[in-house]
Each structure stands twice: as C-alpha cells, then as structure tokens.
C-alpha cells in the first residue's frame, strides 16, 4: 500500500494536508481525484454494490477531512484513507442483514479414497489464456467475487488485494488468524475452480 501511495503522490503531501486543514476546496478535490479511484474500487469489491460504494467513499472522505487534525503522517495519506474506507465498508457489511453462507464444498479440490488428488479433466489453464482484455478481466473478476460467500470473499480481498497481514485481517474481521488462514485457502481454491470454469466457458 505504501508503494501505491508513492505512485499516486506526485504532489507535496504536507502541502495537501495543510490545505485540507485550512478548508481549501481545491485540496479536497485533489485528494478525491488522487485517492478516490482506489478507494472506490476497494469499497465496490467489498460491498458488491455501486451505490453503497459511493456512499462509503463519501463517508470515508468526510470522516478523513473532519479528522485531518489527527492525521500524524506516519503512514502515507493514501494508506490512512484506504484503512478508513475498508473499515467503513466492513462496518456496512456487518450491518447488512446476514445471509446464510453458501457452501463452497463443490468448488474445493477433490481427493480419492486414498487421499490422492483427483485431477479434473481440462481444468488447468495456462498463462496466455489469462491475457484477457482489461475490461473483460474486470467483469470476470466481479462475477467470480460475487459467487464467493461474503466471509470468504472478504478474507481473499483483504489478504490478496489489500495486502493486509493475516493478523490485521483477523482484527478487521473480528476473527482469529487461524480462521483467516483457513478461509483464505478455501477462497483461493474456490476461485481457481471458478476461474477455470469461466475460462473454459469463454472458449479459451
């Protein structure tokens, strides 16, 4: 995340923070234009809903700007903002009426009676087959994520996309590191099955 901050910060962060603390509208717009894309993408992936993601990002910016006095600059401002939006998105998910979690079992690896892996016919895909158009990949990712149960999707996103550690992810999700590790592995395994099946349907 810090790398992303640096890539996205072609401005003087101290000056930006001073502008925000002084209520400068141009600083506010610069902040949103610079970091809003990544925050929106993260909120949308977690919430699986455009309108909720808009609300969540707006809320995150309002809280951040109101709390700008508390920003100490130890992490980059982008990392700080990102943490706020992820926390808010997870709070929204908790507040939603919980759906019963669908089982992932049919998407997990299969073993024979001796414990040896059963290789599904034609399942493996090769790297060139993943050379999809950018929009196509994005649409496919949205579809695959939507098919994972919330609890597994959240772990996958926080660990593999947002790059939080197992311990940080456990704290954010109010669970244990052991549960995070198990869910991450199952989510990745399910995603592998879903991706291979999507690519096979697409005819690659």
């Amino acid at each position: 995340m810090n790398d992303n901050d640096q890539q996205r910060a072609p401005f003087d962060e101290a000056k930006l923070v001073a502008g925000l603390r002084g209520g400068d509208p141009r600083s506010c717009e610069l902040l949103v234009r610079t970091f809003g894309g990544r925050m929106y993408a993260a909120a949308r992936r977690l919430l699986q809903h455009d309108d909720d993601a808009h609300d969540c990002v707006q809320d995150a910016f309002l809280r951040a700007i109101r709390g700008m006095e508390r920003f100490e600059g130890r992490a980059g401002i982008g990392t700080w903002l990102h943490r706020i939006v992820v926390n808010l998105a997870l709070n929204r998910l908790r507040a939603r009426q919980r759906r019963s979690e669908e089982s992932l079992d049919e998407l997990l690896p299969v073993f024979d009676e001796d414990g040896f892996r059963v290789e599904p016919a034609g399942a493996a895909f090769t790297a060139p087959e993943l050379a999809l158009e950018r929009d196509e990949s994005a649409a496919m990712l949205d579809e695959l994520l939507a098919r994972l149960p919330d609890g597994h999707r959240n772990v996958l996103l926080l660990r593999d996309v947002e790059e939080y550690s197992t311990e940080e992810t456990a704290t954010l999700l109010e669970t244990t590191p052991g549960a995070v590790r198990v869910r991450l592995h199952r989510a990745r395994a399910a995603l592998k099955t879903l991706l291979e099946s999507a690519l096979a349907e697409r005819g690659t």
Partner: protein, 102 residues
C-alpha cells in the same frame, strides 16, 4: 493410471506416510505465503517434488491469486467516477459550512 502416477502413489503410501495430497492441501496457501514452519514446509516441498498433480494444482492456484491481484490493481488505476468526485466535494463543502451536518 500411468507408471509414474503409480510410483508416486507407492512412495506416498509406503515411504512418505502422512503426506497424501489431502494431507498437504490445507497447507498449500501458507506454503505459498511463506508462513509454514520448517518441518511442514519441507513436507510440502517433498510432496510437490513427487506429485505432479499437486504441482499443477498449485500453479493454477497461484495463477488465480495473480489474476485477482492484477485485475484489482488495474481497476484501481481508474480515476474515480466524476459524479463521485463532485458528490464528495459538495458534501465536504456542506459539511464545512455546517460542521454538525453530514
């Protein structure tokens, strides 16, 4: 079943006890993430040397992780929707005019 697969099975059954694919599978994620202890890491590595099915499986598993990561990164490089920028800037202005609102 190929001769190679038969030999893999024989080795796992009689020499590498407790290292069936099913025993190894739950540890593959931690193996990739580098968070396994030394003994368990060695177990997984030995199994992978012997078992082509698990090596292939792990390659696909890793490609799935890379697909998610790469696609998500590409999504993040998009600018925020213009409507979102306007909406946030307006909300911040309203909030600053009336600090209790929002």
């Amino acid at each position: 079943m190929s001769l190679r697969r038969s030999m893999e099975r024989w080795l796992v059954r009689h020499v590498m006890i407790g290292m069936r694919c099913q025993d190894i599978d739950p540890h593959l994620g931690d193996y990739l993430d580098g968070t396994l202890g030394t003994a368990r890491r060695l177990h997984v590595r030995l199994h992978l040397v012997m078992c082509r099915a698990c090596r292939q499986y792990l390659e696909g598993y890793l490609r799935g992780v890379e697909f998610v990561r790469g696609t998500a990164r590409a999504q993040e490089s998009h600018p925020p929707p213009a409507s979102l920028v306007r909406r946030v800037v307006d909300a911040v202005e309203r909030n600053q005019a009336s600090p209790r609102a929002g």
